[in-house]
Symmetry: C2
Subunit: 251 residues, 2 copies
DNA sequence: CCGACTTTGTGCATGCGTTCACAAGCGGTA
DNA sequence: TACCGCTTGTGAACGCATGCACAAAGTCGG
């Protein structure tokens, strides 16, 4: 039973419960933007800004003002008409919706170039994500501290992750190892995975995977380079003042 | 068969021109998936697979079979009904659409932990993206080769990028430097930027920016952790066989 | 205390992307 | 050659996300 959502009766938990109900209805795309708003707002708060309008905030976040308001409406109505939003209030509400009121322990697997970089971030930008475990297959790395945390052997993933209650696993291994590492993380109860390996991971339904694929990003950009080159070539001779390189496409 | 559709007359350039016209119509989301298909197909080709059905390919790429066929239809009809797709043929067509027949020179700005990792990739996975220039503000780094390429000072961005015809700029600097670096890249004629800095970049319309934001990715995962925790708490006591950890949410 | 101005919150229309379902087309087989 | 089964390619329906435009709601000045 989904607790009791009888439209009325918020007698149980005055505020939290309402948020949690709403969380399910927030579009995925909006969640990503909320994280961006949060960062912008945090920056504003640091500079002593206490209030902001949807117009200002939307420009700083690089989105449409109406979209921003709609996104904020998903988490509730915390603005004041005619005035705008209170920065502090908005920050705390977004943090709660995103689950940032709790710490999320992170494990990084694969301590190569990228793994090093990730480990050295040392609790990701905008705290709340302490890295509590590192893993690698290389015995020479095991025991050596990186970013203050000693590297464990990859065979220990299951036990260590369960012990330290890791909630997010980061895969920064070479492609062939990724699926196997993923399986181990899953069997350790990790339900959220951030995958840097250029591999399509197979996971059970209850596990959330997000991938960061540099090769794909580069190829998308490549596509746009090609498209621009074509447009420039077919419309007329390059119309950009800069001498990018007037490559001719047609044979 | 969409090859000559009424208005037809593909007399000008038999194949290339048709592709280029189509490129404009490909949805952004499909482009990202095409890059994934390409990788899967390349792997298959390496293993000696010569033909593949949409069903097989879609499973390997982790998408719906119908979606895959529609994505492929954007680039033309290169399958054989009753049989499937020729791997080699598909690879070469996707490569052409994504503009991978040409090399795209890459510049990395900000040689910190992440910049090092990127430079050491040395021509990104699935070649075609040679890193030809590195930049940093730190004078101690200037002149030192990283991944075989000497680091230049950040003030030289404009001249070096124009000289080496850089088409993709990668920003891996600390947040405060990102916008300034971006502006310099743009004034050097770079029209595609991959931004790792947690900053919303302001660029002219003719510049394409893609961002990779680790903090945002983590926070999206955090959101899902929270959502799952709530569901588990409100539905009943954890129903997953694994002993994740029976954390109680309600106070 | 009132009226005018400002900004939020949101119903609605529009467009894009995904999914379904099926006709068209091709190879294999008798 | 004619039929059969398989797989592609795509028209059409659906659903989600975006953007518009305006009423609701609040502040500020007189």
């Amino acid at each position: 039973m989904a607790s009791q959502r009888g439209e009325g009766e918020t007698t149980t938990t005055p505020l939290e419960a309402a948020d949690k109900e709403r969380a399910r209805a927030i579009p995925e795309a909006a969640v990503a933007r909320l994280a961006v708003y949060l960062r912008v707002l945090s920056g504003m708060a640091d500079q002593g800004v206490t209030a902001v309008s949807s117009e200002e905030l939307s420009q700083a976040a690089g989105v449409n003002a109406a979209k921003l308001r709609k996104d904020l409406s998903y988490i509730g109505s915390y603005g004041t008409r005619g005035v705008g939003y209170d920065v502090e209030v908005l920050v705390s509400h977004i943090e709660r919706i995103l689950g940032l009121t709790r710490n999320h322990s992170v494990a990084v697997v694969g301590i190569g170039n990228l793994g090093h970089a990730l480990a050295n971030y040392g609790g990701f930008p905008g705290r709340g994500f302490p890295v509590t475990a590192l893993f690698d297959v290389d015995d020479d790395l095991v025991g050596i501290p990186v970013g203050g945390i000693p590297v464990n052997h990859i065979d220990e993933i299951t036990s260590v992750c369960m012990e330290r209650e890791v909630s997010i696993g980061v895969i920064a291994t070479p492609p062939p190892a990724a699926q196997s590492v993923c399986d181990r993380l899953v069997s350790a109860g990790v339900q959220c995975i951030l995958n840097f390996a250029p591999v399509v991971l197979q996971v059970p339904d209850n596990v959330e995977v997000r991938k960061v694929d540099l090769a794909v990003e580069m190829q998308i950009l490549s596509f746009h380079v090609a498209r621009r080159a074509d447009e420039a070539a077919s419309v007329s001779v390059g119309n950009n003042g800069l001498g990018v390189d007037g490559m001719v496409i047609r044979p």
